[in-house]
Each structure stands twice: as structure tokens, then as C-alpha cells.
Amino acid sequence: MTDIGIMENSQYLTFKLDQEVYALDIIQVREVLDFTEVTKVPRMPEFMRGVINLRGGVVPVVDLRLKFGMSITEKTVDTCIIIMEISLEGESTLLGALADSVQEVLTLEPDQIEPPPRIGTRLKTEFIKGMGKKNDEFVIILDIDKVFSSEELTLLQDAEEEPVLKRAES
């Protein structure tokens, strides 16, 4: 689906993290919720904010700002949870992402999208599907499956776990 998405006109949901504009393929977005209380899951990396109740289901919520190396998301009136469908180890699963504000749904033609730059962003290049151009402004189109690939999740969990263990030993 991703390949066709870049070949044809696609719609993207744009949102803001800090002052930068990011975009997600609308196909992966299920819904946008107001910020609700998140139940923290103990001893998980900080960017895994916890879980919420989505109409009787339990959905994990991640803090994209923390994941991308920014400061923790502060709750404002504009703060939203974007519920998206990602595929994790071949399994389709729901995941909520915190965003400072949700902007609009944007239609981009293939020639408006450029390949990701090698340098100049604070994200890993593989997280970026492309750079969309709109009114001389750039939006970063995320490859959200890559951002939350199982390696990314376990990598950070291991890194987080070690200091905890050391503390326990001392």
C-alpha cells in the first residue's frame, strides 16, 4: 500500500510536535481523541506513556515528542491522541500517539513529495517516508511502522532497563 500511496495522490493527516509539522498517511489513522487520563505501565521506557480505555479496549499511548528526542508532551487544550493502526511483527495493532495539535487533512500529489533528506532532521532517516511540500513549507511524512518496529521498542526498553537493574543491585 505504501508504494501505491507515493505513486498516487494521497491524503495525509498533519499534526504538530513542538513547532514542526508532521504527517501520517490517512489510511493508517483510525481516529483522533481528546487527551484523556493515561494509565502508566510501570517500568516501561518513558516514551511509552501508558494505556487508555478506547471503548472497552486497551490501547497503548506513546509520546512522539519523547521518542523524537524532544521534551515531554505537556497537556494543553490542543493536545490530542491520534489512534492509528500499525503493523507490529506482522500483526495489526492499535496505537495512540500524543500530538501537540492536529492540523488538517492534506492531499499531496506524488511530485509534491521528495525523498527524505540524509541530514538535517532530528529523526532517523528510516522513520521518514518523504518530505511533503506545501506552500513552500515542508511536512515530514512519517513511516510510522518503522518508528514503532519491534526493534525500536525493545531497543529502548533494554536501554531503560539497565539503570533500574543497577540501582537494584547497589
Partner: protein
């Protein structure tokens, strides 16, 4: 899926079920060669496989099965004796049919060689029986000359044949069946027309008629039944022996009752209702003094048993894909959550008119939940019966003499649990056969009975099902395990361990005390995989053993995976659920208690020292620590461990929600649940917390 494919799938499913029934029947026959009921069952299964096989285009299967059926027919008639050779052959044929079923799915290449061999042996058996027919008849003086006692003499049968309305659309013609009956002997048929509706409502393609048939024949009841073999599943057929000279002279009265019931119009859908009506007739008879209560009751029991057999044969099955069931279970889970929320809102509002309907909904939801979870419940016996074959084949291969005793086959467990149990159980039983039970000669030397015993038992115990696998073999040697564990670096050399702790090392990955690796065990899954599977089902494994006497492995499993009884507690602002099954008691942890322990995390509970874990510290929560904390004492690996929480809220029906793959790495939490007010509470895994 195309129409014909659907039929073929249906046939395949049906055939697989029949094949497992065949396996059971033949093993029953092996245990008791006189078991006529099993022989008949076996024959009927084979006959159905053959019949529907040719109907759905599985010609090869039909042709092959025909040979088996021919032999079984002779067995049924008592012309071919039940022998080990026969049993082996039937089992081989069963496997062959199973393979042929898979072949058509394209799994395997046809193996015509084996098939031919089986057919040849079957024919040889037939030939032998033809040759010494007279001889075998003489030999068999001890046992009944034929398995079918009704065969060979004139008997009168009363048959009530009420075909399914749609019988024509299934390509059956009841008239043909009636003709067949006529050919069997003196036959009078009466058609009942009271089911025919008025002409406007009449559907010309439906069958509204039913028949009472009185048949006198010497061909035997099985021959009569065989006529209806293709329609018995969806038609109501009753075949009764009206006149069996020896039987009825002594007890004429129950016969009268039977006739009364027969004539009193019993609709097939309400057989149970008919049963209660029957009782009334029995009581009437007793009241009038024409028969003793005991006699009526015994007749009733017999009749009820017959009805029950028929009911269980016909009602039992509606095939539903399991994902639809899962969806239903999920929906009910959500309903339970919403209902809890509703109850809470209603309690807060304290509105008089609201209370009643809310309570009603609560009752209905609980009932609905129980029945939906019940749908997923299956008797574990289906799994047990598979092991009979396993034990039979493996013990023959190894030259050991082993009897498998199963208990509690009717114990019900969630379908998913049963399916996941399969591999661990196979592994453990293989272990028993291969490593546990000694060869007969060795057993004789040790003064044990030459036949080894494996006991496989299941039983309910509270909210759990306990499965035990016990053998009377060589048992585990704690010293050998200890040495091996030290050698593998699993325990330090100087460690002092109890026997139980040593034995539990067999669950460590890569552990095996057996020196040799056979083709049965010592490869593939080990006990560590068994343990992992059981733990993933929220169960526990326990092993006990007496050296030289035998080993006993105990599995403790929860009844269902979807809903557990939990204990709701709070730490800070968060709610947590502890599985109630592991909780033993709750008590207060005062400041004095903490001071007395001088910084150690132990507490004195009625003279017993209980170590505890401060969940607050463990979860790195610092703010709002209350003055009085509570401690929940749980049973963790047979030790009492306390968990310190802020408050204990109370019992909670916990609908388990998975945290999903994103939280795969989390260790202390086994899932989440949603509370009445919509907040999420985490379910703690006490085993992982320690």
C-alpha cells in the same frame, strides 16, 4: 468458497470426527472384545464415511473403506473374531483414510502401496474366516454366536419414522426407504396425515407425512437401522422391539406404558417434555396399583437412557467458526464492563426507579457471561482419548507393557487452553513411556507388576483445573539431577536446596538426565517448553517424585483465559488487580511493623516471617504515601510473599485485555482491565514481581 468445496470441507470435517470415534471404538473393543455396542459404532462410522464419501466424490476413500466395512460387517455378525491383527488392521486403515483425506487437500502424495497391502490383509482375513466358519462357530461356544442377538429369529419392530420437512430437497425419498423395509419381511405401514397444513399453507416440496411401521423380520435390528443410516441424523426415527418372546412375558406393564407414550404424540423437538409426560404415566400406573414403583422406575431409567443417547447423537453440534466465538466473548466482556459502569452510576444517583432494571441487567449479564464462556468449554476427554493411541503405539514400539488410566475426562476447560495443552501433554506422556516406565523384565526384578501404569487425571479445584500425570516407573533421582544441574551451571556447587527445588530444575532449558537420545524423546520440546506453555496459560507446573516408585507432574490451570476473579488494590492514583486465586490474605502494615523489622522487608504474621515487596518502590512511585499501608499476602511458588499496596478495594470480576504487542517486553504486568468508571487497571503478574 464454491458450493462443492463447502460440501467437501463439511465432509472432511465430519470424516475427521468419525475417524476419531473409530479410533476410540476400536480401542474400546481392544479392551473388551465383547463390547457389541463399540463394534456397532465402529461399523456405523465406517459405513457413513463410505456412504458420504462416494456422495461427495471421494471415490478412493469410499472404495477403500468398502473393504474395511466388509470385514467389520463380518465381525459384527460374529464371523470374524476380534483379534490383535484385526485391531491393528483397522487402526492402520483409519490412518490410511486420514491420509487420503489430506491427500485430497494436496498435502501428501497418494501412497497406494500401503493401501493395497491393507486391502490384501483385510481380504486374507475374510478368506480365512470363510474357510473355518464352521470351526470358529464351534470355538465360540463360550460367547454369543452373534453380536446381534436380534438377528436370526423373527422379531416384531415398531418403527416411527418422522422425516425432516426438507428431506426431499436433500435428495432423499422416504418412499424408497419404505420399499426397502417392505422387502425385509411382513410389513404394515400406516401414514399419519395430521401434520399436513391447509392447502394455502402447503409447501409442495416439504414432507409433512410421518409413518408408523410394524415390521416382522428375521434380519436383525441392525439391518433395520441400516436402512435409515443416511437419514438418521436429521430425521426422527424410533425403532423398538415390540415382541421379543422371552423378554416381555415377565414385565407386561412397562410395555403398556411404552405404547402409551408412543401413541401420545411426541413431537421430536420436545423429547425432553415427552420424558416428563412419560413420568406422569408411570405414576398413574403406580397409583392404580398395577405395577410396583421400582419396576416403573427401572423401565423409565432405561428409556431415559435411550432418549439421552439419541439426543446426544442428534442435538450436540452446530459448527461455529472459533473467531466468531472469540468475538462474542469479547463483546460480552465489554458488556460486563459497561454493566459495571451502569451499576456504579445507578448507585451514585440513588434513583428508586432505576435500581430494579439495573439489578435485572446485572443478573442477565452475569448469566450471559457464564453461558457464553460455557460455549467455549470443552470436555478434556477429547484430548485424553488421543493419548490412548499414543500409549498403545509407543509402548508396543519400545516393548513395554503400559496401561493408561484416564480419570475426569468430562472435566471442562476453555477450548484454547485444551488446544494449547496438547503438545505439553504429549511430551510428558512420552517422557513417562520412554524414561519413566521400565521394561517388563526390569519391573519384575523390582517386584512391580509387569504392566506399568500411567494415570492421566483431570479435576476441578476451585477456579482451577488440576491435571495430573502420574507413572509408577523409576522416578526422578534428585542426586543425579543435582549433579547434572551443577555440571550445566544451573545451580552453584555449594547451594543447599530442598528436594523440591532440585526437582524443579528439570524445567530448566536444555536439561535432560537421560543419557541416550531416542527417537521418542530427548529431542524437540523439553520440559522448559512445557513449563512455558503452561505459564502462558496462567497455570503452574509442579513435580514430585519418589525414586524407584514413580513421578507425578501436576498442572494447575485456570478455567478460562477471558475472565478472572481479581483483587482490586490502589497504589497512588493507580488501580491494580492481583489474581485472587493466588491471594491468601490481606492485612495492615503499620509504621510499628516497619520499625520492628529494622529496615528489612519482612513482617511477622501470626508468628510467621513473611517477606514482602513494596510495589510503591518497585514501580518508583514516590508521592502521597499513606500512613497506613496494606499488605496482600500471596502464594508465589509455594512461598508466602507479601505485596505492599496503599489500599485494598475488594474483589473484582476482571475481564482480561491484552496489552498488545507494543508492551511485549513488560514483565510485571500480565494484562489490563477496565473498571466500572472507565479507568484502566493493570493486572499484576505476581510470579514475575518476586
Amino acid at each position: 468458497m464454491s458450493e462443492s468445496n463447502r460440501f467437501m470441507d463439511a465432509y472432511r470435517q465430519e470424516a475427521e470426527e468419525l475417524l476419531s470415534e473409530i479410533e476410540q471404538a476400536i480401542l474400546d473393543i481392544e479392551d473388551d472384545p465383547e463390547d457389541r455396542e463399540a463394534v456397532n459404532r465402529l461399523f456405523r462410522c465406517m459405513h457413513t464415511i463410505k456412504g458420504s464419501g462416494s456422495m461427495f466424490g471421494f471415490d478412493a476413500i469410499a472404495e477403500f473403506t468398502h473393504h474395511v466395512e466388509t470385514v467389520l460387517d463380518k465381525v459384527r455378525a460374529g464371523l470374524v473374531p476380534v483379534s490383535k491383527r484385526l485391531i491393528d488392521l483397522v487402526l492402520a486403515s483409519r490412518d490410511q483414510i486420514m491420509m487420503m483425506l489430506n491427500e485430497t487437500e494436496g498435502h501428501q502424495k497418494p501412497d497406494t502401496g500401503t493401501r493395497q497391502k491393507i486391502i490384501e490383509s483385510l481380504n486374507a482375513m475374510l478368506f480365512e474366516s470363510e474357510n473355518d466358519k464352521t470351526l470358529s462357530a464351534e470355538k465360540d461356544i463360550g460367547r454369543p454366536p452373534s453380536f446381534d442377538t436380534t438377528q436370526g429369529k423373527d422379531m416384531t419392530y415398531r418403527i416411527r419414522f418422522r422425516p425432516n420437512r426438507e428431506i426431499f430437497s436433500r435428495g432423499m425419498d422416504p418412499a424408497l426407504l419404505l420399499d426397502e423395509l417392505r422387502e425385509m419381511g411382513d410389513c404394515s405401514i400406516m401414514a399419519h396425515t395430521d401434520g399436513i397444513p391447509s392447502i394455502e399453507k402447503l409447501d409442495p416440496e416439504s414432507c409433512y407425512l410421518y409413518w408408523d411401521i410394524i415390521l416382522v423380520t428375521a434380519k436383525g435390528i441392525n439391518a433395520v437401522r441400516d436402512i435409515f443410516i443416511f437419514v438418521e441424523d436429521d430425521c426422527d426415527i424410533r425403532i423398538d422391539i415390540v415382541e421379543a418372546a422371552e423378554q416381555n412375558v415377565e414385565e407386561p406393564v412397562p410395555r403398556l406404558g411404552e405404547i402409551l407414550v408412543e401413541r401420545g404424540d411426541v413431537i421430536p423437538e420436545t423429547v425432553t417434555k415427552a420424558l416428563s409426560e412419560q413420568k406422569k404415566i408411570g405414576e398413574l400406573l403406580v397409583d392404580s396399583g398395577s405395577v410396583s414403583r421400582g419396576k416403573v422406575e427401572s423401565a423409565l431409567i432405561e428409556q431415559q437412557r435411550l432418549e439421552k443417547q439419541r439426543l446426544s447423537a442428534r442435538v450436540g453440534t452446530v459448527r461455529v467458526p472459533s473467531d466468531r466465538l472469540d468475538k462474542l466473548v469479547n463483546l460480552v466482556g465489554e458488556l460486563v464492563i459497561t454493566q459495571a459502569r451502569l451499576s456504579q452510576v445507578s448507585a451514585d444517583m440513588n434513583h428508586a426507579e432505576l435500581v430494579n432494571p439495573v439489578e435485572e441487567i446485572e443478573r442477565l449479564t452475569t448469566e450471559l457471561r457464564d453461558s457464553v464462556l460455557n460455549i467455549r468449554m470443552m470436555p478434556i476427554g477429547t484430548t485424553f482419548s488421543k493419548f490412548r493411541r499414543l500409549v498403545r503405539d509407543l509402548s508396543a514400539e519400545l516393548g513395554k507393557d503400559i496401561a493408561l488410566i484416564t480419570e475426569g475426562a468430562e472435566t471442562e476447560l476453555d477450548k484454547t487452553v485444551i488446544e494449547r495443552l496438547d503438545d505439553p501433554l504429549v511430551h510428558m506422556i512420552r517422557n513417562c513411556i520412554d524414561h519413566g516406565i521400565e521394561p517388563p523384565a526390569e519391573r519384575k526384578k523390582k517386584n512391580k507388576p509387569e504392566t506399568g501404569t500411567i494415570r492421566l487425571a483431570a479435576a476441578h479445584k476451585g477456579a482451577n483445573v488440576v491435571i495430573t500425570i502420574e507413572d509408577d516407573g523409576i522416578g526422578l533421582d534428585p542426586d543425579a539431577i543435582r549433579l547434572k544441574a551443577i555440571e550445566k551451571g544451573l545451580i552453584p556447587k555449594e547451594a543447599e536446596l530442598t528436594e523440591k527445588e532440585i526437582l524443579s530444575r528439570i524445567f530448566a532449558p536444555g536439561f535432560s538426565t537421560s543419557e541416550k537420545i531416542t527417537n521418542l524423546s530427548g529431542r524437540g520440546v523439553g520440559m522448559d517448553v512445557v513449563k512455558k506453555t503452561i505459564e502462558s496459560l496462567r497455570g503452574t507446573v509442579d513435580v514430585s517424585s519418589v525414586k524407584g516408585k514413580g513421578t507425578c507432574i501436576t498442572l494447575k490451570l485456570p478455567l478460562t483465559l477471558a475472565i478472572i476473579n481479581g483483587l482490586l488494590v490502589t497504589i497512588g492514583d493507580s488501580y491494580y488487580v492481583l489474581p485472587l486465586a493466588t491471594v491468601e490474605e490481606c492485612t495492615e502494615l503499620t509504621k510499628e511493623d516497619v520499625e520492628k523489622a529494622h529496615g528489612a522487608n519482612i513482617m511477622n504474621v501470626r508468628g510467621e516471617i513473611v517477606p514482602y515487596v513494596r510495589l510503591r518502590d518497585h514501580f518508583e512511585m514516590k508521592e502521597n504515601k499513606p500512613d497506613l499501608e496494606h499488605i496482600v499476602i500471596a502464594d508465589v511458588y509455594d512461598k508466602r510473599i507479601g505485596f505492599v499496596v496503599d489500599h485494598v478495594v475488594g474483589g473484582h470480576q476482571t475481564v482480561i485485555k491484552s496489552l498488545g504487542p507494543a508492551f511485549k517486553g513488560v514483565k510485571d504486568v500480565s494484562g489490563a482491565t477496565i473498571l466500572g468508571d472507565g479507568t484502566v487497571a493493570l493486572i499484576l503478574d505476581v510470579n514475575a514481581l518476586v
